[in-house]
Symmetry: C2
Subunit: 396 residues, 2 copies
């Protein structure tokens, strides 16, 4: 029993943001039909990193990370029969997701204005770099461009250094999360009114919406937060420190932690620094004190001393350390699926568990290209001869 | 007409992740009742940055960024009558959100096991640092600790430098997005089955789930991606470059962009570098060539040259530049609400627009502490005398 059982999502999207969104919905129980171009399919099937099977055949790790638990149908959107197939599937679906450049689907008779009359209950989400309107609507965009234009890159970096890109495709991933929210919300509204809706999601705005606390600083004080390495513009100390063994430890301490922190690190507990406001003014001094103290302890020593007095801290873990962390392992955050080429291959699970529904699992492998074409077309009433003809014509 | 009209969410959460989630749902039309501690309320009401009104009174910009469009009731969860109020409200709500440390609500008779029997249709989401189970379940966590322990901080930084924290509370914000997804999904399942459910959301796992493509590199190749400044581990060139005027420009080019990129920058179009695979091997050489070329052009010159040949690029904008960007302004991404202390105060809108529902707006101000206490208790049948007595007893 899954929360999204019975929901059917037709997914025309490619690459990362929307495929990530539809994978989330698939692992919550929705049936997701991934529509791919005949021949190559989603271009990420050709994106590195490639995992190699025992016989030398390779599979894209990129594709596998965002397409678990879906069905794949190949459809040529430039062929009239291909367009007819999408229109028929849209009439049998609850939602359609797409991330084509603005105007592409209109030319194919597959935009909202064309589909809403024939599929009045359909929710359609269009995810583009800059949204369907506005001066940049026709510009193409990419994750790193949104990180640049959305402000995150300029906020990230060493003190006095240049901008730095967060080491994950944060704009794509958060746009995927926003897309999932918008779809689920619109579907709830659809259920209430019986009428579908169109969602215009802008990836740039997805980033602007996340500026929240940083924007609050600008709105409240007119300040643009500087780049601060691992420090926090409004709280001291919140930073990562290099320990004697070269490992980094992150510490974040509120007022009630200040005295215990000082004691744990063998520092004088200066009462004039008891408030965050005072420590903000004395940021350099506080950071220098703590930096010197941590440089004299191994990370394990520091963690033990801080845990003993309940000062919040956490090791700065490398990716392989995260995935092997005892808690991450105990929670089952890493699972594996069986792949025909690779055998068992690891994957990352959604971050929540249910009481009342089956837990999301990351154990259903991504589809091979067009794996479900015949079955899905069969469901639309196409027989074997017709499917063979469509294939010969290049429609599927 | 909003997509979540008719939904009532009882929000016992504090600080950032879950308040951000419930604000999203509020601006999509849900009624969100924010339960706050009498006296101080959500602790972020006392968090800087503070905006100052004309009479010198201050309001937290932090609080305002995450609590628009909610109603506020003060309830003392340590008082038996306060607990009775929450139980009564839970029976009239569709969902309850909380982020207390594991075990706190059980002691008050407000955990899932206590509420499910009296509110069988209620969906309850518990958001904690590490989830309800596992070896770290009792540890407290904070955004920066999850960025450290979840791998993002170690993936972010200059080549050869130390870890850097992305300049936004990415772990809190994305946990909020995950929370909104989990709630909406569980509510859909609840509508189908008639039975509520409990969601156990782990903020650390929220970060682990986002490792996606970085984890794919580890799963496929055994490689831990290095820190690369603004570069990409698998694609060259994708990086930000310092232009002659000191401004930074981000460029991301696929194979089809390579020759136009070289021409636009006045560089020889070396066919041996036509593929990403070749450029990955020659990363240092390619980056040096482009760095030198961009250092000789102003950012405006470079943008004009690259736009002319359709090479994807975007300026690295500071926060104030983002908020004043013509496209961001044209899309109405920044709105304002009327605040009794501050007058008109700016705010950031959700990143999507609807056709079929009213667009989300960021124009409904956050509540003052306990602003709706009397009205909400009135709705439960408490009369004025009883409310006054509860207030005198410290229950509200």
């Amino acid at each position: 029993m899954t929360p999204l059982a019975g929901l059917r999502i037709l997914d025309l999207s490619r690459v990362l943001a929307c495929p990530f969104a539809s994978m989330i919905l698939a692992e919550l129980g929705a049936e997701v039909i991934k529509v791919e171009q005949p021949g190559a399919g989603d271009e990420t099937r050709g994106f590195e990193p490639f995992a190699q099977g025992a016989d030398g055949e390779t599979v894209s790790g990129y594709f596998m990370a965002c397409n678990r638990a879906k069905r794949s149908i190949t459809v040529n959107l430039r062929h009239p029969e291909g367009i007819a197939i999408i229109r028929a599937l849209a009439q049998q679906s609850d939602a359609l997701v797409e991330n084509f450049p603005v105007g592409t689907l209109k030319r194919r008779g597959l935009d909202w204005a064309s589909l809403h009359p024939i599929a009045p209950r359909l929710v359609m989400l269009s995810c583009t770099g800059f949204g369907q309107t506005g001066p940049y609507a026709k510009r193409k965009g990419y994750d790193t461009v949104f990180q640049a234009m959305g402000g995150l890159m300029s906020l990230t970096g060493e003190r006095g250094g240049g901008p730095v890109k967060p080491g994950l495709p944060v704009a794509d991933l958060t746009s995927g999360l926003w897309a999932a929210i918008a779809l689920l919300a619109a579907l709830r509204g659809r259920d209430a009114t019986g009428q579908g809706a169109h969602v215009d999601l802008s990836m740039l705005e997805g980033q602007v919406s996340l500026l929240t606390i940083a924007a609050a600083r600008f709105f409240a004080l007119g300040e643009v937060p500087p780049r601060l390495g691992t420090e926090h513009p409004g709280r001291v100390p919140t930073a990562s420190f290099r320990c004697a063994d070269g490992r980094f430890l992150h510490i974040t301490a509120s007022d009630q932690h200040w005295a215990p922190l000082c004691r744990a690190l063998g520092l004088p507990d200066d009462p004039s620094l008891a408030t965050n406001a005072a420590r903000l003014v004395a940021r350099e001094h506080v950071m220098a004190m703590l930096t010197a103290a941590l440089a004299g302890m191994t990370r394990a020593q520091a963690v033990a001393a801080l845990d003993a007095v309940d000062v919040p801290n956490g090791p700065v873990l490398a990716l392989d350390e995260v995935l092997a962390d005892p808690h991450v392992v105990a929670r089952g955050a890493v699972q594996a699926f069986d792949d025909p080429v690779l055998g068992s291959f690891p994957s990352l699970r959604l971050p929540f568990r249910f009481d009342g529904f089956d837990d999301p699992q990351a154990t259903t492998r991504p589809p091979s290209l067009g794996e479900h074409t015949d079955a899905i077309l069969g469901g639309l009433g196409y027989n074997h001869a017709r499917i063979a003809a469509l294939r010969a014509e290049g429609a599927i």
